[in-house]
Structure formats: C-alpha cells, structure tokens
Amino acid sequence: MNASGLNLLIAVAMGLNLLALGSGRVSSLIRAVSFQGMALGAMPFLLSHEFSPWVTLVAVATIVGKGWVIPLLLGRAMRAANIERETDPLIGFVPSLLLGAGGTIAAVGLARILPLRPEHAGSLLVPGALASMLTGFILLIGRNKALSQVCGYLILENGIYLFGLLLIHTTPLLVEAGILLDVTVGVFVIGIIVDRIQRAFDTLDTRKLTVLRE
C-alpha cells in the first residue's frame, strides 16, 4: 500500500550513498550517514500493515541509534581529532562515485534475478540493500581516515538492516539483533576517542596504522 512511500525513502537512502561517496568533507559524510539512519528508522512504520508496539520500538531504537547517537559520537570524535577533510583517498572520489553509481544500477539488475517473494518483488528494498553494502565496502576499502571507514561500516550495516526489513514480520529478533552492530560502531568511536585522548594515533590516519606487518 505505501510501497511507493517506502521506495521513495529507499531511493533517498541510495541517493545519500552517492553523496557519501562523493563528499570529501568528513562532516558531510557523517550528516549523510545520520540522514540515512533516520530514513531507515522510518521504514518499519511504512512496512507494518497495522500498528504493533514491537516494530515501533525497533523503529524508534533505530532512529535514535543510527540517526542521532552515533552521528553525535562521530561528530565528537571528529572534533576531538580535529580533522575535516579526507585527503587523497586510496580510491578517488570520482572513481568511487562511478563505482557506486554503477553498483547501484547493477544492484537493481541483480535484484530482478534473485527469486523474491511476490510482495517484495516490486520494492527497492533488495537493490537498496545491495547498493548500500557496496557503498560501505567502497568506503571501507577506499578511505584513509578511520572516521570515514567507520561511516563506511555504518552504511554497510545500514544495507544489511535494509535487507533485514524483509524479515521484520517473520523473525523480528534477527533484525533487532542488527542493533548490536551499532554497538560495534559505538565501540569503534569510543576507541577512537579513547585513543585520541592517549594521543597514540594522530589525525586518525590509518596509513600510520601499519606497524604490525610481516
């Protein structure tokens, strides 16, 4: 019924992916992530045919977690490490944008091949999920700043969450379990801040994190 609304939201999320890929400013990256989180958080309402407190709880938790708490922490970390820009990433912005765009198209195509249940066939859930995961991986592999990688991880996990929405009615538990991934992210960020306090690792540049090697 409100599949169109849902698809709209997913489209927004996918747009935010591209934004995240293209932006060199860490702050805009964080903002993109937080908006995406909120969008994701809103989705369960649109999915659920009738009001169920459980689903509402999940949704609210998601919005609060993904959309507000984590971006807040990230922002704090950013300020603590006073970095603003992602300098010369391993995969340049334009290539990663192109990759992301191509990936998004491919995702739509791939979703057609996958055998989906009729009620999911129309929705952008699966393509969106795939696109976000791809974006996440691109950021994880292509960025130098730890913060950007964390954001990449967040987007990856958003993709997984999107996919999880397929199952929100039958097995809500799994979907809720996804929240734990946010905890992981929380640990990342805390790690960064803690370490920032220790001054062990300046400018959160992972290129300096290559002491341990063969």
Binding site: F137, G142, N144, T206
Partner: protein, 653 residues
C-alpha cells in the same frame, strides 16, 4: 621367555633414562642390562632357539591394541641394535663427560635421549601395528635429533641437526601417507603379509621415499654427512650402525609383506649401484674424518640395496634362487657394516678427541699415541674395504655370488646384475683407496700439526667397546658359517608366503674355511718375518726418501692429494670448490691450491628448490603489509571467489 626379556629391556631403558640425570653408574648398568636382554631375545628368535614371537594384547595405545612380533628378520636387526647399543653405551659413559668444551648439561641430556633412541628403535623393530610403528619411528627421529644437537652451542651442530630434522620429517610425511593409505585400504592398522592385495603395489614408492630417506639412499642422503660428522661419536656410531639400517628394515619389511611394482627391484638395484659408487667417491675426496666415514655409509647402504634389489628382481622371475643369495648377502652386510662402522666411529671419536680436530689434513702419526686404537681402526677399515679375512668380504661375496648367478642364468635380470657387479667392483676398489687414505693420514707418517692435549689411549670404558666391536668383525669374518642359520631364517621370514622357493642355502662353509686358513698363514708368516728382521737387527734413521736429509712433515701427502687422482676423474660430478694461488716470479712466495669437497646434491638441487619456495613465501607474506583497507578487500575477494565456486558448481546438477 621372549616377552619377559623384551619387557625387561624396555623397562630397564626407561628406568635408565630416569636415572641418567642423577647417577651415571645406575644408568650405565641399567642400559647395559637392557642391551644384553635385547640381544638375548634377538639371538633366541634369530637362531631358532625359540619360535617366532607374536603377542597381542587388548591394551590399547592411541586407540590401537598392541601387537608385537619378533621374527628372524626383526631379530637380525635387534641383535645389531643390541651390539652397537651396548658398545655405544659403554663408550659414552666416560666419553660424555670428557670436557671438550661441550655444554655442561649435555651429559645428562645425552643419557636421557640415548635411552630414548634405543627404546624407540627397539619398539619399531618389534612392532606389528602401523600406528605404533609410526609413533616409534617419529620418536626415535626426535631422540636422534636431540642427540645430534647435544653440543648445541655450536652453530654447525645446530645447522646439522636442523637439516636432519627437516629431512627426516619429509620422510615421515611420506610414511604418514603410506601407513594411512595402507590402513584405509585394508581397514585396519594391523601389519602383516598381504600378498594378494596387488592394488597396494603403488604404495611401495611412498615407502621407498620415506624409508630410503632414513637409510641414506643416494640422492636422498643430503642430511647424512653433516649429521654424522657433527654428532658426538657414540651417537654417530648408533646413527650409522643402526638407524640407517632401520630404513633398510622398513624397505625389507614392506617389500616382503606387500606386493611391489614390477619395476621396484630394478629401481632399487639401480639406485643401489649408483649410490654405492657415488657414495664412496664422495667419501674419498672428503677432508673431514667423520664425513668420510659418513659417506662410506652411503656406499654400504648402496651395497645392501643392490642385494635387496636383486632379491626383488629375482622374485619376479621363475625359480631364481640367486635372489635369496643376494638377499642373504645384503642381510649379512647389514651386520658387518653396522658393527664395522660403529667401530670406526668410536675409533674416530677417540682420534678426534686426541687430535682435537676432525680435519684429516692436521692429523698424522697418531699410532704412537694410540697404538691399540690404530689396530682396531685398521681392522674396521680393512673390513670396510672388503679385504679377506674380515667380515666385510663375506656379505659382499654373497651378493656377488647372487649377481653372478643372475648373469650366468642369462635371464633378463642379467642386464641389471652385470652392471651392478661392475659397480660393486669399482666401489670396492675406491673404498680401498678411501681407507688407505684415512688410515695413512690419521695414524701414519709424521703429525701434520702440533698434537693436542690428550695424547694417550682412552680409558677402559672407551677402549673395551672398540675392541669388542673389532672382535665381532673378526669373528664374523673367520666363522661366517655360524650366522648362516639366522641369514637363512631371516630371508625366509622376508616373504613368509613364498613357500614355493627352496629353503635358502647360504654357502659360507667354504669361504669360512678359506678365511680361517688365510688368517693363520698371515699370522704365521708375519711372525716369521718379524722374527727374521729382529734377528738381523734394525737400525732406525730418518726416512730415506731418495736422499732427502730431513723431509719436513709438511711435505707429506695431504687429504686433498690422496683423493686427487680418482676425484679428478669425477670432477664433473663432485664439482669441488677450488681456490688456488699459483707460484709467481723467479722466487715464488707462498702458493696454495685448495679443493673443498661440495655437497653436490644438497647445494645443487635441494638449496635452489628451497630458495624458490622461500621466494614464493616472501611474495605471499607481502600481502600481510598492515594496510587495513586491503585486509577488507581480501574478505571481499574471498567472498567473490567462494561465490564463484558455488555459481560454477551450482550450475551443474
């Protein structure tokens, strides 16, 4: 009767290992007792005083019920183990505590691992369960490693030990595969004659690699020289005298119990012939006494393998009894070489301790200080060169008889036997040259360097075993007929299912008579000449040497020169490392020429291969470069690869 003896021996060895740290006296007593018990058990079964011993118990080790057996073949090797073990034990009692700058903790460790080695060698010999065989095999390898590296503060020793361990493990892996395949083919770990399972024949190649490597089969001998040279001498004696022979034991056992490929005999014969010749040529050019002896072991293993190969070839032919003759020769050679080589290594231990070096080029004239050792060493060398009236000849003689019959019978086997005979002959002659060199450089002439501290005959503990072994060599030479029964029984036990062939007759009476007469005449004439000379009186003077007033000791022939001529014929193969400086000008100053014998197979084959592998490993290790981004990329790649596999495989139903 047998069971209790063996049990006693093993327990005594165990207790001895425990006692070794605290009280050497207890250790030596227990270990000697164990050796005697092992020998007794071996003699009882080997000479047929007792029936073959086969003992099963429900008591499981590693999930497998114990199954021990002692037949004539095992007994033969058990007796060898007992003999050399006794000698080595006695020798090491004082040898270990000689202060040659060895690690202070060495003696205690030496006793512990020594008992462990003998224990597990015995276990392997009396075992009839694949799993337990493998356990014993691996453990004696480990014990031997710790014995070789007793003086582990020296780099050379550690390197030798490492090479030994690595090579042995390669062999062990092959045996892993061998025994596991056997077990999965037969459905049980139990070992025994399996004539009818012709599908098992290919397994022989695995066994050949695994056991051959341990035996020092020619191209696989790379670990052998350095290990024998760097180990303490009583250890070298046991390694060369017994553990090499265990490789032979394994080959005998499983070529006897399992069916073998048709080509097996030919391959072994060929490898043996090549090994005999190559080994002894390498020995001839060595400049390190113990390396020389070690390479000589490679030759004798070759001789033994010629016998075994002959037996296998003959087994493929109708009514070819010559095979059993060759086999009997090989078995006897296992003994003669074992005892003689142990004798030589013990002698070398004394010599090295006295001269303070292993370098032949710095010895000489030691007969004055060590007359008895010199005699014992001479006996060992003569036997090694197969000279009458000593033991070495007897085994080779039997092998010769077998091969001659093969050639005379005009069968296809002649094509293998003929070349083998000639290889044996050449090897024999080179062996003579080798031992002439060894004796001359060590004992004769004038000392080439200022002699070291301990220029005196060793104490009783060390001289007694040397002479004991010399006695054994002499006895085997003069009365070989006495060992004919065990040889016959052993070569029947080799293939228990071949009841078709006539019982093996080992014609040793005539040769024994001949050797005895010869010995008597030798002694008589030598005595007569001695009397004559001393009746006429002897004047001592400097070496005349065509009128050189006072030849200096540095004018004597050196280790390099003594091997030079024959070595020169094989330069294409030995590839010695030559460094020289030609004399220049009308008044030439110092000039020299130096040939370092090289480990051709090791340096020419093994090392390059290892280098390639290491190159690959270095390339792979670059992947762990510490960049997190790529680590995540690896995950994605792994994902993609697995997905691809599933996609490809999923396509087909």
């Amino acid at each position: 009767m047998i069971g209790p003896l063996l049990l006693f021996a093993l327990v005594a060895l165990g207790l001895g290992a425990l006692a070794g740290r605290r009280s050497p006296a207890v250790w030596v007593a227990l270990t000697l007792a164990a050796g005697v018990a092992l020998g007794a058990a071996g003699v009882a079964v080997g000479f047929g005083l007792q029936p073959d011993w086969d003992w099963r118990s429900g008591f499981p080790v590693g999930g497998q019920a114990l199954h021990l057996r002692l037949d004539a073949l095992s007994a033969l090797f058990l007796i060898l183990l007992a003999g050399v073990g006794l000698a080595g034990t006695a020798y090491s009692h004082t040898y270990l505590t000689l202060n040659d700058g060895i690690d202070p903790s060495a003696p205690a460790r030496g006793r512990l691992w020594w008992n462990g080695l003998i224990f597990h060698l015995a276990v392997v010999l009396i075992n009839s369960n694949g799993l337990h065989f493998l356990i014993g095999w691996e453990l004696f390898t480990v014990c031997a490693y710790f014995l070789i590296t007793l003086d582990r503060r020296r780099l050379a020793v550690r390197q030798a030990g490492w090479l030994y361990l690595a090579a042995s493990h390669a062999g062990t892996i092959a045996l892993f595969a061998f025994f596991t395949l056997l077990a999965s083919a037969t459905g049980s770990w139990d070992l025994g004659p399996l004539r009818e399972r012709t599908d098992l024949a290919p397994l022989f190649w695995l066994a050949l690699f695994g056991f051959g490597l341990k035996a020092g089969l020619f191209p696989l001998h790379v670990w052998l020289p350095s290990a024998h040279a760097n180990a303490p001498s009583h250890v070298s004696a046991l390694l060369s005298g017994v553990t090499l022979k265990l490789g032979i034991y394994g080959l005998l056992r499983f070529s006897g119990w399992l069916p073998v490929p048709a080509s097996a005999g030919w391959v072994i014969l060929g490898l043996g012939a090549v090994g005999a010749l190559a080994g002894i040529v390498f020995a001839l050019v060595q400049t390190d006494l113990k390396r020389l002896l070690a390479y000589c072991s490679v030759e004798n293993i070759g001789v033994i393998l010629i016998g075994l190969g002959g037996a296998l070839v003959a087994a493929g032919e109708p009514a070819a009894d010559w095979g059993r003759l060759a086999l009997a020769g090989a078995l006897l050679h296992v003994w003669t070489h074992g005892f003689a080589k142990a004798l030589l290594f013990l002698g070398a231990g004394t010599v090295v301790h006295a001269a303070g070096t292993r370098d032949l080029g710095r010895m000489g004239g030691l007969w004055r200080a060590l007359p008895f050792t010199a005699v014992a060493f001479l006996v060992g060398s003569a036997s090694m060169s197969g000279l009458p009236p000593l033991a070495g000849l007897v085994g080779e003689w039997l092998v010769y008889l077998g091969l001659f019959d093969a050639v005379a019978s005009h069968g296809p086997a002649g094509w293998a036997a003929g070349p083998a005979v000639i290889a044996l002959a050449l090897a024999g002659a080179v062996a003579l040259a080798t031992f002439t060199k060894a004796n001359a450089l060590v004992f004769l002439g004038a000392p080439r360097s200022s002699p070291s501290h301990a220029l005196h005959e060793p104490d009783r503990w060390r001289s007694a075993p040397t002479f004991g072994l010399a006695g054994a060599v002499l006895l085997l030479g003069l009365a070989p007929a006495f060992v004919a029964p065990i040889l016959a029984r052993a070569s029947e036990a080799w293939r228990p299912f071949d009841t078709g062939t006539a019982a093996v007759r080992v014609p040793l009476i005539s040769l024994g008579r001949f050797q005895l007469i010869l010995a008597l005449v030798l002694v008589g004439v030598a005595f007569a000449l001695w009397r004559r000379v001393h009746h006429l009186g002897v004047t001592r003077g400097p070496t005349w040497d065509c009128g050189y007033a006072q030849p200096s000791r540095r004018m004597q022939y050196t280790a390099g020169a003594m091997g030079g001529t024959v070595g020169g014929w094989f330069t294409w193969f030995l590839r010695p490392e030559r460094s020289q400086r030609r004399p220049r000008g009308p008044l030439p100053d110092r000039a020299f020429i130096l040939d370092r014998p090289r480990e051709t197979v090791l340096e020419g084959v093994v090392t390059p291969v290892a280098r390639q592998v290491l190159r690959v490993s270095t390339a792979v290790r670059r992947l762990q470069h510490g960049r997190l981004q790529s680590y995540i990329l690896y995950i994605v790649i792994g994902l993609a690869a697995l997905g691809l596999i599933v996609l490809v495989q999923g396509g087909r139903p």
